[in-house]
């Protein structure tokens, strides 16, 4: 029974990791930018949800569209007016600038919202339901359902719409895309906006399960990176698979080994994967 519980916990957590990573994978795949500011975007989403809940009493699931939209706008502007300026620079510089954005965002959050731990606690926060010996908190279940819905919507967007096609075209061949009249600066900005929106959604969900602080993003950026690499870069499906792998790994290790090791495990996993199979479980071959 414990095994099943651990399994279920891992899957529920994995779904959340998956959606956290999709945004990073998207930005990386399309623009070859590893977004170190990814964690802070998640953090921002969590805070937006927290403040709308605390100030106006909005239910966190219902405020999700607002969170998503505001993060999209923020991401769009950030890319359009700052990141687009260095997008063709060497990898090191793009990495460095997103680092700078991360530092700025975290410290602004510290200044404006203080380092106090926050949490979003709707009335149903503590409620569980039991099925066959398993205890499943309602919130976790709804978070999982939401992540599935958001993922599906996102995948449909990328596969079935003109915008999605434009994004994929730009990702594959920037110059050709430009020549066919695609406004690449705008597309890049939309891409980052989408990545930010997904991160924001992940943050909204995260905030219901874990404490919110300005520095929560650091570990999450790394985890998203692990998931993206695990599942294989550039594949959305891969992010979901990778998320499940990480979720299960953490769930098992924290139950059977010890709760203070999950981070070391995911980082260790990352380094191992990078060395032995950099294309990931489903990947399409980047790496060396």
């Amino acid at each position: 029974m414990l095994l099943l519980q651990v399994l279920v916990n891992g899957i529920l957590l994995g779904g959340l990791y998956g959606i956290m990573a999709i945004g990073m994978s998207l930005i990386w795949g399309v623009m070859n930018i590893v977004n170190i500011a990814h964690g802070p975007l998640i953090m921002l989403g969590a805070y937006v949800t927290f403040w709308t809940f605390t100030l106006w009493g909005w239910d966190p699931f219902l405020s999700l569209p607002v969170t998503i939209l505001s993060l999209f706008v923020y991401g769009y502007l950030l890319q359009r007016f700052i990141l687009n300026l260095i997008v063709r620079a060497q990898l090191f510089l793009t990495l460095l600038i997103t680092f700078g954005v991360e530092v700025v965002m975290v410290n602004l959050a510290r200044i404006f919202w203080s380092s106090d731990l926050r949490q979003v606690t709707p009335s149903y926060a503590a409620a569980n339901f039991a099925v066959g010996g398993l205890t499943i908190p309602y919130v976790r279940l709804w978070v999982f359902v939401t992540t599935v819905v958001v993922s599906v919507i996102f995948l449909l967007l990328m596969e079935r719409t003109r915008l999605g096609r434009a994004i994929r075209a730009t990702a594959e061949e920037l110059r050709a895309a430009r020549l066919t009249g695609i406004p690449v600066g705008h597309i890049y900005a939309v891409t980052y906006g989408l990545g930010a929106a997904l991160a924001g959604a992940a943050g909204a969900m995260w905030g219901m399960l874990f404490p919110i602080t300005p520095i929560m993003g650091g570990a999450l950026t790394l985890k998203s990176f692990v998931v993206a690499v695990l599942g294989g870069l550039g594949t959305m499906m891969g992010a979901i698979v990778g998320g499940l792998v990480l979720g299960l790994a953490e769930s098992f290790s924290s139950t059977y080994i010890g709760p203070t090791y999950p981070n070391a495990i995911s980082f260790g996993l990352l380094v191992l994967i990078l060395i032995f199979r950099p294309t990931g479980v489903l990947g399409r071959g980047e790496g060396r």
């Binding site: 300026l85 680092f99 700025v104 980082f267």
Partner: protein, 317 residues
């Protein structure tokens, strides 16, 4: 060696001697500031070996700093070594760690290398946090040394050494090999450069000096914990100092450390958080407007709007 080179070396020596006389002239507070400045400069210059000359931008050099700090700390407190042994041991362990980790990790390129190094630093923090004999989360407390000048001269000496190494790289066959690796690793390999060896040595050197700085830091600050010595912001600071001054140059990282430390110190007197925010903004501005650093700025004729505008346009979509 040519006259010009002798002149440069002597000039450097003069600066070192001048700085060495500083404690007699400036205030105690200034001495502390200088110790911190020297430390950041050591970290920036040591990063320059692997990041600037070799072109492998490590985002995890703080790991070596922390390992040096903890090795020295553990040897001082748990094992009872004298500092004269504990410090070199700190540097040595950091160097060996860099070599060992470098062997697999230096095979990665670009983003993967950078994130792998970042992950390594984070992992070290976790490991140290979980181990009993490193004091776990509570940290280690060092015995107190009542001569702050010791730290001043130690840091100065290490800084002189690492800058000398950088200078040597710019003048030596080994350094040429590193630069070739940076410029085009495949071409460097077919031209006869043992790329895996060279990269690992550069990484190890980088780790050694960062480790030494960490060892001195531990004793100086008398208390270390995992969060303090494995802080990601330290990596960020040392990289931006090197970039600001000019990666791949001998004095660039040192200059960058000097300027940025001074400005951040001015700000820190206002508000502690402001210093970090400052670094974040500086990174964004430097990457946008002067990614090639001060040395390039000076070489292209100094402060001019046109220089900045050109850099702004160079990498845009």
């Amino acid at each position: 060696m040519s006259i010009k080179r002798w002149a440069r070396l002597l000039g450097g020596l003069a600066v070192v001697l001048f700085l060495g006389a500083a404690p007699g002239i400036v205030s105690a507070f200034m001495v502390q500031f200088l110790i911190n400045l020297f430390m950041m400069a050591i970290l920036a210059e040591s990063w320059n070996i692997i990041g600037g000359f070799t072109g492998y931008a490590s985002f995890g050099n703080v790991a070596f700093f922390g390992i040096g700090a903890y090795t020295t700390g553990v040897l001082l407190t748990r094992v009872g070594f004298p500092f004269a042994l504990a410090l070199p041991a700190g540097g040595a362990v950091a160097m060996l760690f860099a070599a060992a980790v470098g062997f697999p990790i230096l095979r990665l390129k670009g983003h993967y290398f950078a994130i792998a190094t970042l992950g390594t630093a984070e992992m070290m923090r976790e490991v140290v946090y979980n181990l009993e004999f490193t004091g776990a989360g509570t940290g280690l407390v060092m015995p107190i040394l009542r001569t702050p000048l010791t730290f001043f001269y130690l840091m100065l000496a290490i800084l002189a050494a690492v800058t000398l190494v950088n200078w040597w790289l710019s003048q030596s066959r080994f350094g040429y090999g590193l630069v070739a690796i940076r410029e085009d690793e495949d071409a460097a390999a077919v031209m006869g450069i043992n790329t895996p060896l060279y990269k690992t040595v550069a990484f190890a050197l980088s780790g050694a000096f960062a480790g030494l700085a960490g060892g001195v830091y531990a004793y100086w600050i008398t208390f270390i914990d995992p969060d303090a010595v494995f802080k990601v912001i330290i990596t960020v600071q040392l990289i931006i100092m090197a970039v600001f001054g000019g990666t791949g140059t001998v004095l660039g990282p040192l200059l960058g450390a000097l300027v940025l430390s001074a400005v951040s110190e001015l700000l820190a007197t206002q508000l502690a958080t402001l210093a970090e925010l400052f670094y974040g903004l500086i990174i964004i501005l430097v990457v946008l407007f002067m990614p090639k650093g001060l040395s390039d700025l000076i070489r292209q004729g100094g402060l001019s709007l046109r220089y900045f505008a050109r850099n702004l346009r160079e990498y845009r979509i």
